[in-house]
Amino acid sequence: MTTTSRPPSALGVHREATTVRPLGLWRLEWLRLTRTRRWIGLAVPFLFFACTGPLLARYADELLSAVGTAGNITVQATAPTPADAMDGYTGNALQLGLLAALVLAAAALTVNARPTLAVFYRTRVPSAARLVLPRWTVVTGAAVAAHSAGTALAVYETGILIGLPDIPAVLTGWALSSLYLVFALAVTAAVATCARGTLSAVAVALAVVLALPVLAAIPALEPWVPSALAGAPAALLQGADTGDYLRAALVAVLATGAALLLAVRGVARREL
């Protein structure tokens, strides 16, 4: 066999390192996240708003007073609560953080956008699921991890500045909003595997995610629409019942499964 014969000495192998750390599809996705520094783009929105949310809530009165005393107007904020501080985090992080996660997911999952790269994978990976699931899982895991870190930081800072929020409500809100991230990124996967480019995948996935609150405007649909989960962290801290979100969570779980099936089929269906 030609490949096992000793190579010509003029083309000799590296003498310092003669082994290669095995690389599979899961480690490939981890490297995609870390070597390209994409994880920074994902972590920054969550951690930034985890820092600024409680700070703004705590010092809102001082800030408004500084602005409002310029004329005859006096602006007075209500006393900050832990719920306000946590809302300052989730309200912003779940928008910009989701956008960052969506871009990363679309970039990883537009498998067929680069045809010659797609040839490399498609002629070597036996099933579409093996190609799609590591890409989706690693990005989604990283997004949930960033949200978890952001939530923990926001709770810590809120505890120092204002007082500890209701921890069971925070945890429930974190779980429901994480489920929303999982759902949104599954939708992105379904769109990206059928799209011809990352930009169009981001645009379409964003349009789908933004269309959900419009659906929620219909009273009969509101409790079923997964976008309700994004508002759960704040609402639960203000006394909402967990049961109000069970239907949206159920739809999110089912839709996630369906979207991943679509993603797998989308990759396999496209010809190169």
Partner: protein, 320 residues
């Protein structure tokens, strides 16, 4: 032809596999039509086991479509593909592979190994890279590689899995002359050990390494068989005429001869004369040149080459 279950949707259209098949790959009436008549039409490809099979044809002849169907990346409208080995034993190497730029060459090749042949030892990665001439760049990131280097990484990624069938699309298109010679030596050395299907428009490459050839035009297979037979059957007789002066007069005089099919001038004082038959030229060439007053330095017959045979085949034969 393909496996379609929701969770294990296959990424390729799997051809029929027959381990006892006399051919490495064969197709029967393979058809895939695109608007405007492009595609392939009724192609019966027969690739002998252990051969280096060159697929040649002008741009748009259907080479890429044919190889995409054979390797399962596209589906056929009609016809069938049969291979002697499963698709996992077929390696495909695009002309200039697109690789993840943040991987090192060794990682890219190991990824290919772990996906296609995880049972093979990782030590093969460095061997394959060395074989492809990239031993010293194994730990450099692919993003900084030239086109030629990426082409070598692609070849190493194909070789590392020890494929029984290797499909190469324009394997020398990005290489310098030394690299091209090395690549052709590598391909020629594979003959007998594995089957190589080589798609290219560089006819000299095919002539040098391919023992079997298929000529495509407009999606139809015009010729398929031994390269030597094509050269013998389709090479037009011709002569090279070297003149001290009178080149223009000689060219005009020769073009007026009914047995001359084409006159070209590759250099000052040199004419290439293609003729309908050797007999006519042997009796008429010198008198025609003498009659126009051209001063002859030398006259020698052409060596038959694939380019001549290819042009003869693709410009004279009507599509079936």
């Amino acid at each position: 032809m393909s496996v379609r279950t929701p969770l294990a949707a296959s990424l390729v259209h799997r051809p029929a596999v027959d381990p006892g098949h006399p051919w490495a790959i064969s197709t029967a009436g393979l058809t895939r039509s695109y608007p405007g008549g492009a595609g392939v039409h009724g192609v019966d490809l027969l690739v002998p086991r252990g051969s280096v099979y060159g697929i040649v044809g002008p741009n748009g002849a259907g080479k890429t479509t044919l190889l995409s169907i054979v390797t399962g990346l596209r589906r056929a409208d009609a016809g069938s593909v049969t291979t002697a080995v499963p698709v996992e034993r077929i390696a495909v190497c695009p002309d200039v592979p697109d690789l993840e730029p943040w991987l090192t060459a060794a990682e890219a090749v190991d990824l290919a190994r772990s996906l296609s042949a995880p049972h093979l030892p990782a030590a093969r990665v460095l061997e394959a890279l060395s074989h492809a001439g990239l031993g010293d760049a194994a730990y450099r990131r692919v993003g900084g590689f030239s086109r030629g280097m990426r082409q070598r990484v692609g070849l190493a990624a194909a070789l590392v899995t020890d494929p029984e069938i290797l499909v190469l699309d324009e394997p020398t298109s990005a290489l310098d002359p030394a690299g091209r010679a090395g690549m052709l030596d590598l391909i020629a050395g594979m003959a007998g050990d594995r089957t190589v299907i080589l798609s290219t428009h560089i006819l000299a490459d095919v002539e040098r390494v391919a023992d079997t050839i298929g000529v495509l035009r407009d999606g139809r297979l015009l010729y398929q068989g031994a390269t030597a037979d094509l050269l013998a059957d389709h090479a037009r007789p011709g002569w090279t005429v070297r003149l001290r002066d009178g080149q223009d007069r000689a060219r005009t005089a020769l073009e007026d001869q009914p047995w001359v099919t084409r006159v070209t001038s590759p250099a000052r004082g040199v004419l290439h004369v293609d003729v309908t038959s050797a007999d006519s030229a042997e009796t008429g060439l010198v008198p025609a040149l003498a009659a126009c007053g051209a001063r002859i330095v030398a006259i020698e017959p052409h060596t038959a080459d694939l380019e001549t045979a290819f042009l003869s085949l693709t410009t004279t034969r009507e599509n079936p």
